[in-house]
Amino acid sequence: MNSFNKVLNKSTKMLTKRDIAGLIIMLPSLVLFSFFVWVPLLESVHLSFYIAHGMRFIKFVGLENYATIFKDPDFMAALLNTFSYTLWSLVIGFFVPIIMAIILNEIIHFKGFFRVGIYLPNVIPGLAVAMMWRFIFKPSDTGMLNIILKNFGIQPQVWLADPKLTIPLIVVTMTWRGAGATTLLYLAGLQGIDPELYEAAAIDGANIWKRIWHITVPNIYNLARTLLILQIIAVFQVLYEPLVMTNGGPNNASISLMQLVYKYAFEKFDYPKASAVSVVISLFLIFFTFLYNKIIREKEM
């Protein structure tokens, strides 16, 4: 105890007046970070080991909640769907902004108009976008897409009600909202490329495709890699699009893991099981981040 006090005294002596002032002005923000971010993350883990009545912890049950959720047929559906969302978002969402940026970077007419135009969907709140697209995908012949199809003489489609199409169409909705903003990020990257590089390559006889492949692509590679991992992390937590557009249907064809959290927590009021699903999501996300860092390090070596 004595030695502990000595250490304590020593460390308070080591803190200068400026250290203390710095820590004091940080304190309110740190309290907020703890309350809104750090403590809830840790508490999810804690809560997932208990049985609770509403908000009161009743009994420690170890991993029982995890065993229960793994047996829940909804969980398996949600897990597979979440991977399906992620995969589709790589197929559709990842490449679209890159291609859009490469095209727009060539355009010299109406530059501002094109940039503002493709960015506009990002201005609309995500919830409003999801609700809007539910009407655009309306299966009757008065939905927007069916009106357009009718002009080409094609029969009305059921869109979201087709279990095979539900997830890809929700990903299309997410891409419609996000792609423009991501394109602007890539455009900023493309504008950083020294035009001399293209000139030099052209003198060496590289045609347009070769210049794209050997100069443009390597120059945005790092940016693309970072945006890819951020996209995977974001899509893995997809919640309100399926919640609002399909409510997870038809027949669990589009239920996501985060939606399962929502269902357990705010429809069944079973907070521990909701937390258990949250912890599973977090473990996946930590794994992705770890994998990403590992790949980066190996590349750099």
């Binding site: 923000s29 309350f35 993350l41 201005v123 609700m131 009407f135 602007l184 927590a265």
Partner: protein, 290 residues
């Protein structure tokens, strides 16, 4: 009008333009860009046009344009849904959030960047980590804790939650790092407290970054619905987004919902119209999509 032969950016260079194929290719790309803009804009136009339709028009007639543009129905829905109330509530939520975003994230970033007390490196690492670990997965314990401290049914948790945003802290820190340390040392010699330096010197010097943070915070506070829904539902303080989310479980006609969607997207579009240049520059400079 920009002349194609004057093109001096991108992969296609001036000497490529001499080839007819490349010129045709360029106009083909121009056409694709136009189609992309149409894909981005048409759904928004359609939802605005549909909001002028009557219910039977919307349900029965497969056409783009409404029969007539009557603002009366529009105003009626506004009154019936009592949307003014939700606008006012959203306004409260947005203002408090913007203030909290500037003060709390700014103070933390200032201390990390310029005061640098012991432990600030560790704190910054923790904040960088919280970027990767998303807060939505911890919504359940957060909701429980808000109830435990008795803040449910108030705007306070929404305001304060914007004061704990890792992105904002990082943006502020990067900006503050570029402010010369000598300026702050001089103020310290004059006997200013750290808090005084932050409010009287740092914040006024940081107008560009303050503008970016305020715009992003306003947008985030206006668009957020999960936490507002959990905290404010059935308290009479519902924001516009919470009201929109309530349509999921309440009975309403399609046309009412579409009009409500239009009400909810008009303010962000106006905001974008005014600050368009700032927002678009902010994206390319900060790497954040908002």
């Amino acid at each position: 009008m920009t002349r194609l032969t004057k093109k001096n950016s991108g992969v296609i260079r001036q000497f490529d333009i001499k080839s007819l194929n490349v010129r045709i290719g360029y106009y083909f790309l121009l056409l694709i860009s136009l189609i992309l803009v149409l894909i981005a804009v048409i759904p928004i136009v359609w939802i605005f046009l549909s909001s002028f339709k009557t219910l039977s028009e919307f349900v029965n007639e497969p056409s783009f344009l409404p029969h007539k543009f009557s603002f009366n129905d529009f105003v009626n829905t506004w009154k019936v849904l009592k949307f003014w109330k939700y606008y006012v509530n959203s306004f409260y939520s947005v203002i408090g959030s913007a203030i909290c975003a500037v003060i709390f994230n700014g103070l933390l970033a200032y201390s990390i960047s310029k005061v640098r007390p012991k432990g600030s490196n560790l704190i910054y690492t923790l904040i960088l980590w919280s970027l990767m670990l998303p807060p939505t997965t911890a919504i359940v314990p957060l909701f429980i804790n808000i109830n435990k401290v008795g803040l449910q049914g108030t705007f306070i948790p929404l305001w304060l939650s914007m004061g704990a945003n890792a992105f904002f802290v990082i943006l502020y820190k990067q900006f503050f790092d570029s402010i010369p340390q000598s300026l702050i040392e001089a103020a310290r010699l004059d006997g200013s407290s750290e808090l005084g330096i932050f409010f009287r010197i740092i914040l006024p010097l940081s107008t560009p970054i303050n503008a970016v943070i305020v715009i992003y915070a306003i947008n985030a506070a206006w668009s957020d619905f999960l936490l507002p829904y959990l905290v404010l539902n059935n308290t009479g303080k519902e924001t516009v987004m919470v009201r929109l989310f309530q349509f999921r479980t309440s009975i309403a006609t399609d046309v009412d919902i579409i009009r409500a969607i239009v009400f909810s997207i008009i303010p962000p579009i106006i905001l974008f119209g005014i600050f368009q240049k700032y927002i678009m520059e902010g994206i390319s400079k900060t790497g954040i999509k908002g």
